[in-house]
Symmetry: C2
Subunit: 384 residues, 2 copies
Amino acid sequence: MKKEIYFDNASTTPVRGDVLDAMLPYFSEKYGNPGSMHSKGLDALKAMYGARKKVANYLNCEDKEIIFTGSGTESTNLAILGFARKKKKGHVIVSAIEHHAVLHPALRLKEEGFEVTVLNVDNDGLISLDELEKSIKNNTILVSINYANNEIGTIQEISNIGEICHKHNVIFHTDACQATPYLDLDVEKLNVDMMTLNGSKLNGPKGVGVLYIKKGIELEPLIYGGGQENNLRSGTENVPLIVGFAKALEIARENRVENYRHVLKLSKKLTRGLFKIPNCQINGSTERRLPNNVNFSFLNVEGEALILLLNEEGIYVSTASACSSKSLEPSHVLMAIGLKPEVAHGSLRFTLNWFNTEEEVEYVIQKVTEVVNKLRRISAMEGV
Amino acid sequence: MKKEIYFDNASTTPVRGDVLDAMLPYFSEKYGNPGSMHSKGLDALKAMYGARKKVANYLNCEDKEIIFTGSGTESTNLAILGFARKKKKGHVIVSAIEHHAVLHPALRLKEEGFEVTVLNVDNDGLISLDELEKSIKNNTILVSINYANNEIGTIQEISNIGEICHKHNVIFHTDACQATPYLDLDVEKLNVDMMTLNGSKLNGPKGVGVLYIKKGIELEPLIYGGGQENNLRSGTENVPLIVGFAKALEIARENRVENYRHVLKLSKKLTRGLFKIPNCQINGSTERRLPNNVNFSFLNVEGEALILLLNEEGIYVSTASACSSKSLEPSHVLMAIGLKPEVAHGSLRFTLNWFNTEEEVEYVIQKVTEVVNKLRRISAMEGV
């Protein structure tokens, strides 16, 4: 059997066997519509209640503050477009290294007449709290800052950001999709008013997201109809995937410390190994970083070529986020932290998970070294 | 084991075993993000291509005219809100018996400054083609009419409606969620420009819908981000559910004639049996009707009480659509076809599927008769 080493867990993750097992009864046996009055519907409704309660528990909030959506992207859109459209006008602040699922709704708001400020970040990928506070104006309604970045793993000072927002009566949303398996999710401690989670980054199913919405906050729905999810997200509830999400979150939170240590050990080993390759650099913060993220640039090498050659060795990694990996533009995140386009183009993102092993890391170090050397030899010959 | 008779297939359907089998590999094995450049991503992308091709084939359209969404409701919202917002202004026509997933976006458009006409229907639930044509104005941009109604099964004259729309250069969308397993889906023959399908009404998974969009039609997305689905629906594609949708559609279409005959035979038997109960009426058309839909009103009985007592006998039916079944308002569909509120309140919807049997129909006739009689006795005693 072909060797398969999956180091692209920020793109998506496999559904764990125990998560799939939890979902299975809801496809063909307990298949009712939670809106139906009979037992079949009631069984589905109970499953929804249980899942919502579980998620609320891990976020330290009330059940009714949890909305299930169809993806992390839908959650960020509901938070940003939904909140701003309800307010009808105002000023919104995001950072330059947000995921497109935050940046693009923010740009859409601009077209709809809202003001939008995009905060710069430093070389580590951190926003400046001073700059954030200075950018808040009388008409500022919303700040949306990534909890941990999907490309370079930089962890923002979420609790402090929330404090600044609240001092100025501004609502604070954070995209916590990448942070979910590893960082604190207590919405009280984090000072967040809205928070996005995503099943597919959590060894749960694709196609299900969560939006935490602190009570009292009003949103305009993106999707209108039967009034499900407290009138905020119409459409028959996706019971199996919602159950799967809650199960995946439960397992991730219960194994959090152990998994954190495991992937941190692996990523340190990987980082040490890759640094032996000449003319390379690590991108992002060495201090405030997700434990499973390693992002390197190899000078004079094309990231796409690296991915394709590593793929032949059964190693799956990426350049930027999966959503934009096929675009020829250099990553907006790497550009924002000050990389030159040619350095950004030679970057690779390795994102680890609980199932990865030391042996895999050793193999990856060996193969990346070989492949970088090979590409540089070709490139040098072409340059002659 | 408790007897279970599910006659509520317009609310949602169980996922077929063979559909679930088709989906399973994509949760934990072929779990890649279709946006990733490596083999894991490519496998997912190939599965998406295959599913899209299959769906396009059954609709007689091009692959690129098929968009996968998170639900039927999301598809209708994308069609209606997306098209109107792109046009920025104009007049939209819907019918009075549309699903809330069409009516509520239309009402939202009104708030956004669009003009909206709601067409009346006759006692059968049919719109008048004359009235439709007369209601088209110079600024009419969109007509959205249900292919087959979810409560009473009435089948509109879709092809003729499309012809009228096109004569006046108006775009025509139809919600075909209930029609999908039984009626013609050829978008050319139907003269439709946009069409909504839904996995959960098709013995496929919940949480996946399709929107057919004829090429050349431009829509404003509901959800912005990574640019998936031709920039119309951002968010990681839900590969397992998309594969499941295509498989469910394939099976439904291949078995269409056989299933049509089967449910028609059962619904005729059910109708004959129920008519033996005194003081009842069938709601909707006897001619232009989905073969699996039976909707009856029993005078002097509350539909909710019927549902609960039938539930105790293991029979699962509904009053109106699952989305509004818990509301105390009488069904807007039954009111639109001229029922008095008290008659609408005493209604039951039976919706059949391929797995239902003659024995089940006989048992349901027997139990409905008993339960209606019981409730009428109680009601008569209370009246003394």
